[in-house]
C-alpha cells in the first residue's frame, strides 16, 4: 500500500533517527532537557495527527489527555508505589480508556461544536486537578515521582533518559506509520474526506472516529507519563488549554496529516521559545504572528516547503 515515492522520505527519516542517537554527546544538561521535551511533545503530536490530521476531528483536549497520562503514572508510582515500568503502560491504558469514554458521546459533534466540547473537557480537567487535593494534589501538584528505571539501571539523568524517549518516539513513529497505511488509517482518512463531501454519518463512521480519538489519547497518555518521570513533578499548569492549542499549532506548523510533519513541528515549536528567550515578552507576539503567517501562506505547514525544495532538486517526497 505504501507508495514507492515515500521510500526516500522513509530513508531520510531513518537516517535522522539514527543520527539523533549521537546527539547527547554534544549537548549540555539544559540542551538535553529541551530535546527531551521536544521528543515528548512529538509523541503527543503524532497522536493528535490521528484525530486531527487523518480523521479531521478538531480537538482542543490533547493537553488534558497528556495530563491524564502524567497524573495517572504519578499517582500509581507514588501513592501506589508501582515501578515506572509498570505505571507507564497502565497510565497509557487508563488514558486510552478515558479517551474512548469521552469520545463516545462527544464525537457525534462536528466542527466548532466538537472544538468547544473538547475545550470544555480540558478546562474541566484543570478544574478537577486544581480542586481534588486529596488525590491530585491541587495546585501544589504531585512531587516525588520516581525517575524511570529498569531492574539494575536507573535513567535518572536527562542524558540517559534521552535514549528512553528516543526509543519511545521511534516505536510511536513506527506504529503510527503502520496504522497510517493499514485499513484503519485509510478508513480514518476516508471518514474525513467523506464527511466533507457528503456530510454523511453512520455507526461505522462513529466507530472509526472513536478509534482515532482513542489512539490520539493513547499517544497523549504515553507522552504525559514519560513527561512525569522526567520532571519528577506534575501540576495542573502544564496541561492547561493553552498547551492543547500549542499541540495543534505544532501539528499545523509541521504539516497536518503527516507523521514527519508532526515531529518537525513539535521540535521547532519546543525550541522556539528557548531560542528566543532574550526577547522576553515580545516572544509571544512574534510566535503568534509567525503562526498566523504560516497559516496564511503555508496551509500545509513547513513540511510543504521541504517537499517543494525536494521537487526542485528532483527528489519526490510526501
Amino acid at each position: 500500500m505504501r507508495p514507492p515515492r515515500n521510500r526516500l522520505a522513509v530513508a531520510a527519516a531513518l537516517v535522522a533517527f539514527l543520527l539523533a542517537l549521537a546527539l547527547p554527546a554534544f549537548v549540555s544538561g539544559y540542551g538535553i532537557r529541551i530535546l527531551n521535551l521536544a521528543l515528548i511533545s512529538a509523541i503527543a503530536v503524532i497522536g493528535l495527527n490521528f484525530a486531527f490530521g487523518y480523521a479531521g476531528l478538531i480537538t482542543l483536549a490533547q493537553a488534558g489527555f497528556v495530563g491524564c497520562g502524567a497524573y495517572l503514572t504519578a499517582i500509581l508510582s507514588t501513592t501506589a508505589g508501582l515501578p515506572p515500568l509498570l505505571s507507564i503502560p497502565l497510565a497509557v491504558v487508563g488514558t486510552t480508556a478515558i479517551g474512548a469514554a469521552v469520545g463516545l458521546p462527544m464525537l457525534r459533534l462536528k466542527g466548532h461544536y466538537l472544538a468547544l466540547a473538547t475545550l470544555g473537557f480540558n478546562v474541566s480537567f484543570v478544574i478537577v486537578a486544581t480542586n481534588w487535593k486529596s488525590v491530585m494534589g491541587g495546585t501544589d501538584g504531585i512531587s516525588g515521582i520516581p525517575s524511570f528505571a529498569v531492574p539494575g539501571f536507573a535513567f535518572a539523568t536527562d542524558h540517559r533518559y534521552y535514549y528512553v524517549l528516543w526509543l519511545a518516539l521511534a516505536l510511536a513513529t513506527g506504529i503510527a506509520w503502520r496504522i497510517r497505511y493499514s485499513h484503519i488509517g485509510l478508513a480514518m482518512i476516508a471518514v474525513r474526506d467523506d464527511e466533507i463531501a457528503t456530510g454523511a454519518a453512520s455507526v461505522g463512521v462513529t466507530r472509526i472516529k472513536v478509534q482515532a480519538f482513542s489512539l490520539s489519547a493513547a499517544y497523549a497518555g504515553l507522552a504525559g507519563a514519560l513527561f512525569a518521570h522526567m520532571t519528577n513533578f506534575v501540576a495542573p499548569d502544564d496541561f492547561a488549554l493553552s498547551h492543547s492549542i500549542i499541540y495543534l499549532a505544532m501539528l499545523i506548523i509541521g504539516g497536518e496529516g503527516s507523521i514527519l510533519g508532526a515531529i518537525a513541528g513539535a521540535v521547532i515549536v519546543t525550541f522556539m521559545p528557548e531560542l528566543m528567550r532574550d526577547l522576553g515578552q515580545a516572544y509571544m507576539i512574534i510566535f503568534g504572528s509567525l503562526m498566523l503567517l504560516i497559516l496564511i501562506f503555508l496551509p500545509k505547514g513547513l513540511l510543504s516547503l521541504a517537499a517543494m525544495a525536494a521537487r526542485r532538486i528532483g527528489i519526490s517526497g510526501r
Partner: protein
C-alpha cells in the same frame, strides 16, 4: 560535583567549536554564553521578568539589581565582583525549570535565587537536588518547606504563618468571637483557611463560615453575603492583590459594616492603589514586613534609593531578595563560592537583621517567622503599624 567539573574541562575544546556555531546561528541552547569571568562570582536568579507574574517579579528583579550594585560598590563578595545572572521564568513551570538548567549550565553558579511562585519552585526542586546548589526563594506555599530540601531557604514568612497571624489578630487583637473566612480556592487559600480555623478555635472563638471563590472570579458578593448571614462579626480574607481589592470594594458597596483582616497581597502599593480610602476604613492587613522610614535610617535609605532609581515604591515581597543578597554576601565573604559550605552557613544563620525582617533558619529552611499587622490611616491608603505577630 567534582565529577561535573571534570566533564566541563574535558568538553572545553568541543564547546569552543560549538560556541562559534552558536554565535553565528544564535543557537545559545547548545553552548553556554560563558557569562562568568575570572574576576567575578556569578550567581543565578530565576525571576518572572515578563508575563502576568511580573507584578511581583519586577520588584524582585529591581531589589536584586540594587543589591548587586551596592554590594559591588562596597568591595564585592570574597574579593570578587558579584554578578547576578537573571533568567526569565515567565508564568510557567517548565519555563522555570528550563531557566534553572540554563543558568546552571551557563555559569555553574555556587548559588541560585529561586522564583517567588511556589509551583515554579516545586517544579524546580528536583533539579536543585540533582545539582546540589544552595538557593533562597520567596514563594510562601507550605508544600515547599515540607519537602525539607536541605539546599533551599525561604526568605519570607510561609503561608501557614500568615494564616496564623490573620486568625491571631482577629481573635486576640480585635477581640472578635464570630469569624467568617473568605478564601481563594487554591493551595494558598485552602490550607490557610483550615489553619486559621484551628487558631480561631484555640482562641475560644468560633468560625461561622468558610467560603471559597476561584482565582478568576470577579464577583464574590454571594460568598460575602453568606458569611454576613451566618452572623459573622469579623471577616478574614485570604486573598491576593486584585481579588482582595475586589472583595473590599464589594463589601463597601453592599453596605456591610464589618472589620476585615486581610492577607498581604492586597497591602502592597500596587493593589492598595486600586482601593478607595473609605473602602479601607475597616481594614486591618498583614504584611511580610514593616517597611517604612520610621523603622530606622537603613530602611529609610533603602526606600529612598529604591524610589530614586526605579520610580516606584518598594514592596516587602520583592525587598526580601535584597536581604537575601546581603546575607549571601556575608556568607560568600566567609566561606567563598563553595556550595556545601554556603549551604551549611545558611543553615546555621541566626538573628541576621535585614531591611525586611530578622532572619534565623529553622529545621525546614524557613528564615522568617513573623509578620507585621497594620491598620489604615483614616481617609488615606497609608498603613499604620500595629504590632508584630510571630509563629511561636
Amino acid at each position: 560535583m567534582a565529577n561535573k567539573r571534570t566533564v566541563g574541562v574535558r568538553g572545553v575544546g568541543r564547546r569552543k567549536v560549538l560556541a562559534g556555531i552558536a554565535a553565528t546561528t544564535g543557537l545559545t541552547i547548545w553552548s553556554p554564553r560563558l557569562s562568568a569571568q575570572s574576576g567575578e562570582i556569578a550567581v543565578g536568579a530565576m525571576v518572572p521578568i515578563t508575563g502576568p507574574f511580573n507584578v511581583s517579579g519586577q520588584q524582585y528583579h529591581f531589589s536584586l539589581q540594587m543589591a548587586q550594585d551596592e554590594i559591588n560598590a562596597k568591595g564585592g563578595v570574597a574579593g570578587k565582583k558579584l554578578k547576578i545572572v537573571f533568567e526569565d521564568v515567565k508564568d510557567s513551570n517548565s519555563v522555570a525549570v528550563n531557566a534553572y538548567l540554563k543558568v546552571v549550565r551557563d555559569t555553574s553558579p555556587p548559588f541560585v535565587f529561586l522564583s517567588s511562585y511556589t509551583t515554579q519552585n516545586l517544579a524546580t526542586e528536583p533539579e536543585v537536588t540533582k545539582a546540589q546548589i544552595p538557593g533562597m526563594y520567596a514563594g510562601g506555599g507550605d508544600a515547599m518547606h515540607m519537602k525539607k530540601n536541605p539546599w533551599l531557604f525561604r526568605i519570607r514568612p510561609a503561608d501557614g504563618i500568615q494564616a496564623l497571624a490573620l486568625a491571631k489578630h482577629a481573635t486576640e487583637g480585635l477581640g472578635k468571637k464570630k469569624i467568617g473566612i473568605l478564601y481563594v480556592q487554591n493551595d494558598f487559600g485552602q490550607p490557610g483557611a483550615i489553619a486559621a480555623e484551628k487558631v480561631i478555635k484555640a482562641a475560644g472563638a468560633t468560625t461561622v463560615g468558610l467560603e471559597a471563590y476561584s482565582f478568576t472570579d470577579n464577583d464574590m458578593s454571594a460568598q460575602i453575603q453568606k458569611l454576613k448571614g451566618a452572623g459573622a462579626d469579623c471577616l478574614i480574607c485570604i486573598s491576593y492583590g486584585k481579588d482582595g481589592a475586589l472583595i473590599l470594594k464589594l463589601v463597601k458597596e453592599m453596605g456591610i459594616d464589618l472589620p476585615i483582616v486581610i492577607s498581604s497581597g492586597v497591602m502592597v502599593p500596587a493593589a492598595r492603589n486600586l482601593i478607595a480610602p473609605d473602602e479601607l476604613a475597616n481594614v486591618n492587613g498583614v504584611m511580610d514586613a514593616y517597611l517604612a522610614p520610621e523603622r530606622g535610617p537603613e530602611v529609610a535609605a533603602y526606600i529612598k534609593s529604591f524610589k530614586d532609581r526605579f520610580k516606584i515604591e518598594p514592596d516587602p515581597f520583592g525587598s526580601c531578595y535584597y536581604d537575601g543578597a546581603w546575607i549571601l554576601k556575608q556568607v560568600l565573604d566567609k566561606v567563598g563560592p563553595d556550595r556545601a559550605k554556603i549551604r551549611d552557613e545558611l543553615k546555621a544563620l541566626k538573628g541576621y537583621k535585614g531591611i525586611t525582617n530578622t532572619f534565623s533558619t529553622d529545621a525546614d529552611g524557613n528564615m522568617v517567622h513573623s509578620l507585621a499587622v497594620f491598620s489604615i490611616k483614616p481617609g488615606t491608603r497609608e498603613p499604620v503599624f500595629i504590632r508584630t505577630v510571630s509563629a511561636a
